[in-house]
Each structure stands twice: as C-alpha cells, then as structure tokens.
Amino acid sequence: MIRSDVLKELQPIISNQLVVCNIGLPSQELHNLDDQPSNFYMLGTMGLASSIGLGLALVQDAKVIAIDGDGSILTNLCTLTTIANNPADNFILLIIDNGSYGSTGDQPTYAGMKTSLAQMADAAGCENVIECSAQDTAAVVKDALAHERMTIIVSKCESGNIKVPVIDLDAPVIRHRFMEEVARRNS
C-alpha cells in the first residue's frame, strides 16, 4: 500500500474530523479524495503540520489529526519534544512513513534506513506511540479517535505517488473556512 491507499481507507474515518495536512502530495491527494472545510491544507512551509496541529489542539476541544510525513517530521524533529511536553488529549499525530520524500521524486529519507521515528517519538517523551502497517492504519486511527489520549501513530507504507491536480484554493480561503469549522465545533 502507498500513501494514497492509506488515505483512501482513512477517508470515512477522518472526513468529519479537523485535519491539518502536510505540504505537497499528501494535501493534494486528500483534497482530491475528499475536500472538506475541516481540512487545513498546507501549501508551503515543510515540516510544520505537527506544530500547527498541536497549537490547534491545545486551545480548543475538538479532536485534531495532523497528517505528516517522515521527511517532514525529520525536518522539524524537535516537534516531538514539544508534543511530548505539552500533551493534548485531543491530538493525534499520524506520520505516514513511506521512507521517502514523495513530493520531490521519492528520494529516500533516513526514516527508511536505520532511523525509527517511533523510537524517536518514544525517546522524546511521547507516551502513546504506535507503529503500525499501512493495512492496519485505519483501524489504529479509529481506535485513537475513540479514546481521550494523545496518540502518535507511525504508519509504515510503501513509497509511491498517484497523479493528482494541485490545489487551486487560495490560502486565506482554506484558513477562513477551516476557522469557521473549528468555531462551529466549539460553539
């Protein structure tokens, strides 16, 4: 299974959730699969999906899923320490770890070599870290949503991309409709 297969299986589970999605193909694939105002697509700024997701989870009550990648986590690795030390029980960080920089041509990342992101999250102090296969990811996310505890999920999948169009929404529109959705869920 590649990332787009994982997203396809996740779609019915996360469609109605607040999702902060990583730059590049992950956001484009999610947008193409199931565009929702509850999705915040990152059009730039590699590495900050987990930080945005944590900031959002800390200040309001609705559940937040940040969909990140192994390459993006590695570029902002210190995020794991901030997440561990500022736990938000409504926060789920899903790292789709395909061992490659997908959006730029599938160059390998160190997460696909010797480095274990799950062990790094654990060493950072994150208390509930689950590494799972691509096939099990939807069930693991569903279970995490059913519980009131911060969960870090590392989904190991194969590298590979599908052809999807770029996102044509303006950034302030993505932000505005997302904020309306957040406010609606907290009203």
Partner: protein, 165 residues
C-alpha cells in the same frame, strides 16, 4: 509597573492567550513574566519556525498568539513568515530582541543585526524599533494593528530599551 509587566499586560489586554518563546538573555525577564501570567498559555519552542506553526494553530483555534524571539530568528523563519503567516493572512506579533546594536558585547550578533531591518523591509513586514523605555507605550496600538490587518509585525527591542528593565 516594570517594562516586563507592561508588555504582558498589553498582551493580555489584546486577548493574546498563547505565547511561544525562544530564549535570549535580553528577553529573560519578559519570558519569566509570560510564565507567571494565568491568562497566557506559555509554550517554549525549540526553534522559531516551529513556534510560528504553533502560533498559527492557536490562532486558527480561536486564541490569539504571539512569539518572543531574538532577531537572529529572522534568518531561520523567512520561509515560514512568507509561506505560512503572510500567505494565509495570519496575524502574528513578534516581540524581538534586537541584538547586535549599540551596547552589544558579542561581535557575531552584529552580523545579523546589520541585515535585520533590511530583511523585514524586503518581506514588507511592518517594523517598529523600541529604543527608549517610553516606546513601550506604542505596544498596545501595534498589537491592535497586527490583529486588524491580519499581518505579522516586528517589534525590535534593543539593549537601550531593556536597560534597567
């Protein structure tokens, strides 16, 4: 009221409830004061671009945010300022210690100081320079401006400003 208390009081008056900080010697007092405030969630960042991500998330969650950092961070955060904060119209007051100005003891700090205002101007970020202690009286208006305009603003605070703070 000390300078640090005045800054935090202005933050609170402007409903800033989420502040991230990356330390600087000059900012130690104000960071401590942020930590003491019951009205503000203080979340230390490892790196300033990470902090801006946290601030963006908080703002979208309905809580106004701000970042406190050193001017060297401008070099770290250009991409984040442009492609996240400015591109999505997110307001972000940045209280910045302006290291490398008159009174600086570490020569290397000057190397970033000479680029600081030019970089901020290049990014069209409204920039204010606090030199006298009385300049702090501008802060309330600057914060209101940032949230009205949904733009990042830079408040550069130099060694003279912090003298005796």
């Amino acid at each position: 009221m000390s300078i640090n208390e005045k800054i935090v009081a202005d933050f609170v008056r402007n409903k800033i409830e989420f502040v991230t900080t990356v330390p600087c010697k000059q900012l130690a007092g104000v960071i401590e004061e942020i930590g003491r405030s019951d009205a503000i969630y203080h979340i230390p960042s490892n790196k300033e671009d990470e902090g801006m991500g946290l601030c963006a998330g908080s703002y979208m969650g309905g809580k106004r945010s701000a970042i406190i950092m050193q001017n060297t961070a401008i070099g770290v955060t250009i991409n984040t300022l442009v492609t996240l904060i400015q591109y999505y119209n997110i307001p972000l007051p940045m209280l910045i210690s302006y290291r490398g100005e008159i009174g600086e003891l570490i020569a290397c700090q000057v190397e970033m100081a000479v680029h600081t205002k030019a970089l901020l101007a290049q990014m069209n970020i409204p920039t204010y320079h606090f030199h006298e202690q009385s300049d702090v009286n501008e802060l309330d208006g600057i914060l209101k401006f940032s949230f009205m305009a949904k733009k990042p603003v830079a408040i550069l605070t130099d060694a003279s400003f912090w003298q005796g703070a």
